[in-house]
Amino acid sequence: MFDRFRAPWSDRRAERVLGALASLVLVIIALMVIFVAIKAWPTLRHNSVVGWFGFGDEVDVQIANQVNGTSGTGGDAFKLNAGPLIYATILTTALAVVIGLAFALFSAIFIVEFAPPRLRRIIVPVVRLLAAVPSVIYGLIGILVLAPFVNDHVISDSRKRSVEYVVQLSGTSLLVATVILTVMITPIMIAIVTDALYSVPKGWKEGAVALGVNRWRAMWTVSIRAARPAIIAAAVLATARALGEGIMLSMVSGGRGFSPNPLDGITVLFEPLRPLAATIVENVESLNAPAVRSSVYAFALLLLFSSLMLSLGGYLAKQPMKKYGIRV
């Protein structure tokens, strides 16, 4: 009844509630990491951390042994050298992020600075739409269209024969995985960078142009500089998505725990591989086996740790920019 006389929430109280919520989130994340770490511990201990991260016998054979609870080489059911999977994760993610970021920067500059308004009105919503397409659809296109095309028209028979004793080339490959992954993560980067470039104060751009700098240089030296925090944020987000992409990569990467060998020259592009997240997806059926379960937890731990480090790295990289008044 006397509601309007009630004392308003003081800022201090609001601060405390928000602080508590934030802390709660941190606690949950910490508990999650600890839980996953405990579950991952058996396999890490068994193989030693260095061994686990390293290369050894064929990783797919090791995992098969874990699934069957047996071992071909003497009862060592926990044996795992995850090197090829980690290598595959780094390879696909790094390639897709580097290519995607470069592409995103140039597209965003084009959209903001050079595209005719009519074209811009079409591009911007299309990019946003692409950013929202579920990754499994990209995976479907990859496996139904791109992989067969690569298999039939890009990889020559002689190329297939040149490596047939090591690995079979069938279309799904590093190339297709990287292309589809790049296509998947680029639109969100374009959208973020475009928004950031739009929000660069017009006065800065005009100021640079009025000093006799051409539009391209003005963009590069002023707008892109001011948008660096958003560019970092976009790269972090895209990397996290690429790291965590399981289903799509399991469809198009070839699904083999193989390490594409750069010494094979161009052929490396057509060799299959399987990143960590895809490996998790492909082993959900075998989680009854204790060794498999521990391995999958270890994969998860690695991905979790990477994305935490990624966020932290992004945060730290943005700090020095605050000094000169760039909003981070």
Binding site: P117, P201, G203, W204, E206, G207, A208, V209, A210, L211, G212, V213, N214, R217, T221, V222, R225, A226, K323, Y324, G325, I326
Partner: protein, 333 residues
């Protein structure tokens, strides 16, 4: 005044040519000699019509930043001493889509003097100013007719970057880049040179520009400070320093003081009078007193038309057109 030549510690400069391999404006017109004629100094009392004062009271003109100005220095008008013509506008019209914002304006801009553009809001002052260094080309809907010449060369025949290096601009809102003070002033110097000059080569020029902009004493202790932490008035002077660092020939200023307090305005006005020696200056202002204080010539625009153009004394003292009388009268009557 702080920025008098004779009081200013001189900086030893390597020639600007050393810094800028590709100096776009190969030959520059030498400065006309600005002797200190015994000038008809006008005094202005804000709520009285302007009158021509006796030379005995010159300090009313100079908006000194502290110390009382001495006669014969920056505080004095160069009336009756027109410099060479630098820019010439012939039948200049500017349209946004089909709406004319500037209608067939003829105007000349001379070395060593300040041209003040006045007129009610929306009459096309900013548009006219931005046309002079082709900034209107950034606006897709803008279209220009008529000819603008810089030293008898059509500005359309100049490389647009060259034009903007020679005809610099200071905006209404101070717009320093989110960089250090030093980097702001060095920005154009660096961008305009072929090979990236080192800090040691650039530093004297940065020093010189800051000095001429009357900012040096306030910032010399920490040039690495973020420019955005300066006060509004300091930021505007920094923008002036940035614009004059590469020694442009014409300086365009669009209401440079509208975001500033009276004190900063005073500092910038005396700065304009000082800079006038080396440059042709065009200033847009809504402040008629300011137009009178700094302008040698005044152009009055109304709805895109240039209604009246003449010496400041004439436009304010004895306007020919009725419209001018109405507009100016409101301020001084």
């Amino acid at each position: 005044m702080r920025t008098h030549d004779d009081e200013m510690p001189k900086v030893k400069l390597p020639s600007l040519q050393d810094v800028m391999d590709a100096d776009p404006a190969g030959s520059r017109v030498p400065d006309p000699v600005h002797g200190a004629l015994p000038p008809p100094v006008r005094r202005i009392v804000l709520d009285q019509p302007p009158t021509v004062a006796t030379p005995a009271a010159p300090q009313t003109r100079a908006a000194g930043a502290g110390a009382a100005p001495t006669p014969g220095h920056g505080g004095v008008r160069h009336a009756g001493e027109p410099g060479p013509e630098r820019m010439r506008l012939d039948a200049l019209s500017v349209f946004y889509d089909d709406k004319a914002a500037v209608k067939s304006v003829d105007l000349s801009i001379r070395q060593g003097e300040v041209l003040a553009l006045i007129g009610p809001s929306g009459c096309g002052k900013t548009t006219l100013l931005r046309t002079l260094n082709r900034l209107t080309e950034l606006t897709a809907s803008a279209r220009r007719e008529g000819r603008i010449a810089l030293d008898d060369t059509d500005i359309d025949e100049l490389e647009v970057t060259t034009l903007r290096r020679r005809v610099a601009m200071v905006f209404q809102q101070p717009n320093p880049f989110p960089m250090s003070i030093f980097d702001n002033v060095a920005y154009a110097l660096r961008e305009q040179s072929m090979k990236r000059p080192g800090k040691a080569v650039i530093a004297p020029h940065v020093h010189d520009a800051l000095q001429r902009a009357g900012l040096w004493d306030e910032v010399k202790d920490d040039l690495d400070r973020p420019a955005l932490r300066l006060s509004g008035g300091q930021q505007q002077r920094l923008c002036i320093a940035r614009a004059i660092a590469t020694r442009p020939e014409v300086l365009l200023m669009d209401e440079p003081c509208s975001a500033l307090d009276p004190k900063s305005t005073e500092v910038i006005e005396s700065l304009i009078l000082e800079l006038r020696k080396d440059l042709a200056i065009v200033i847009v202002t809504h402040n008629l007193q300011q137009a009178y204080r700094v302008g040698d010539h005044v152009a009055f625009m109304y709805l895109g038309d240039l209604v009246e153009y003449g010496a400041a004394e004439q436009v304010f003292g004895a306007p020919r057109a009725q419209r001018t009388r109405d507009y100016v009268g409101g301020a001084f009557g």
